[in-house]
Symmetry: C2
Subunit: 186 residues, 2 copies
DNA sequence: ACTTTAACAGACAGGTCTGTCTAGTGTAAG
DNA sequence: CTTACACTAGACAGACCTGTCTGTTAAAGT
C-alpha cells in the first residue's frame, strides 16, 4: 500500500465514523482497520478528538469539491443554484448514505469538543454559497432565499436518512425551483 | 414528592437524554437525578434501552399533544395546516432547545436498538398529520405537499439547533404558506 | 400481628473506552 | 556502519459503562 499511516488512519476513521458514529466507534476499531499502531494515531492526531476534527475537515473539503464541481457544470445562474440539489441527490443515492456527517457528529458530540466549530464552518460555507448563487440568479432577497433553501437541503438529508426516502432530493430541487421563480422579479 | 419512582425516572431521563444525548448520559446520572435506586430502574424499565424507548414514546406523546393543541385552535383549514409550524416555533424558542429528539437519538443509536422504530412511528404520525391537513386545505397533491412541508419542518429544527437560528420557524411557516397557495387550485 | 411488596443503598462483576508507556523492528541518511 | 526516526505490538492504568446481587427499610394488605 502506497499510502501513509496518516492517510490510512483518516480513511479508516472516515468510513467508521460516518457509518457508525464518532462516539460509537472506538480507537481500537479505527487503528485495526487502518493497520496502524495506537501510538501512531496519538503521534499523528494527538487525540481521538483531533482525529474527529480531521475527519470533519476532510469531509468539509470533499463536500465542497463535490458541490462546486456540480455547480460549475453550468453557466446559467438558475441551473447553477439548482445544481446544489443535484449534488445532494447524488449523495443520498449512495448505498451507504447515513445522513449529513455534520448533523450526526454534532448530535453525538459534547458541546466543548471542537466538533461544533467544524460544523459551524461547514454550514457557513454552504449558506454562503447558496447566498451567492441566489444573488447571481437574481433573487430579490438572496439571504432569505438561501436560508429557505438551507431548510430544504437539511430536511432532505434527514428524510433520506430516517425515512429512506431517496426521492427527497428531487422534491427539494423542484421546490427550490418554484421558490426561485417566486423570488425572482421579472 | 407525590410522583412515583416510574415517573421520576422518566422525567430525569427526559431531561438528561434530551439535553446531553442518550448515549452520553449513563444510568448512574439518571438514577441520581431521579433519586431512585438502580434496581428500581431495572425492575421498572428492564434495561437502559427500555428507558430510552419509554423516553421516546413519552416524547412522541407530548409532541402529539402540543401540535394537535395548536391545530385545534383554528377552524380554517389553511390556518390548521400552518399551525403545525406555530407549534414548531414555540418549541425552538424554548431556552433549552436541542433539536428534534428523534433525529438526535437516531444519530446516536445503533441500528438494532428499538430507537429506529420509535422514530419511524413518530415521523409516520407527523407525515400523516401533514397529509391530512394538506388534503383538508385543498391541496392538489396532499402527499407531495406533506413531504415538502416535512423537509421544511426538519430543516427548521436543524437550523435552530446548529445555527441557533430562532427565526427559522417563521421562515418555514411563510414558505409553507406560499407552497400551500401554489398547491391549491382555485 | 404477619406477610408481601416496593423501594432503598451500594458493592460487585465484566466489559469497554481513551490515552500512556515500554520494548522491539525496519529503513534511510549521513 | 551507525545513528535517527517512524512505526509496530501490546500491556497497562484509570475511568466509566451496564446490569446483577445482597441486604435493609418502610408501608400496605390480610
Amino acid at each position: 500500500m502506497a499510502t501513509t499511516a496518516r492517510e490510512r488512519l483518516l480513511n479508516a476513521a472516515t468510513e467508521l465514523f460516518y457509518e457508525e458514529g464518532v462516539h460509537t466507534v472506538g480507537i481500537d476499531r479505527v487503528i485495526e482497520r487502518a493497520g496502524v499502531a495506537k501510538a501512531t494515531l496519538y503521534n499523528t492526531y494527538g487525540s481521538k478528538d483531533g482525529l474527529i476534527r480531521a475527519y470533519l475537515a476532510d469531509r468539509h473539503e470533499s463536500r465542497r469539491r463535490r458541490i462546486t464541481a456540480k455547480v460549475e457544470q453550468h453557466q446559467d445562474p438558475r441551473a447553477r443554484l439548482l445544481a446544489v440539489f443535484d449534488a445532494l441527490a447524488d449523495s443520498i443515492a449512495a448505498p451507504n448514505y447515513h445522513g449529513c456527517a455534520f448533523v450526526n457528529a454534532s448530535a453525538e458530540a459534547s458541546p466543548d469538543s471542537g466538533i461544533q466549530e467544524a460544523t459551524a464552518e461547514y454550514r457557513g460555507w454552504v449558506r454562503g454559497l447558496l447566498t451567492d448563487l441566489s444573488r447571481e440568479a437574481g433573487a430579490e432577497d438572496p439571504e432569505r432565499l438561501a436560508r429557505t433553501l438551507m431548510l430544504l437541503y437539511d430536511g432532505t438529508s434527514i428524510s433520506a436518512r430516517m425515512d429512506h426516502d431517496l426521492t427527497a432530493a428531487e422534491l427539494a430541487r423542484s421546490t427550490a425551483e418554484a421558490l426561485l421563480d417566486a423570488a425572482t422579479p421579472r
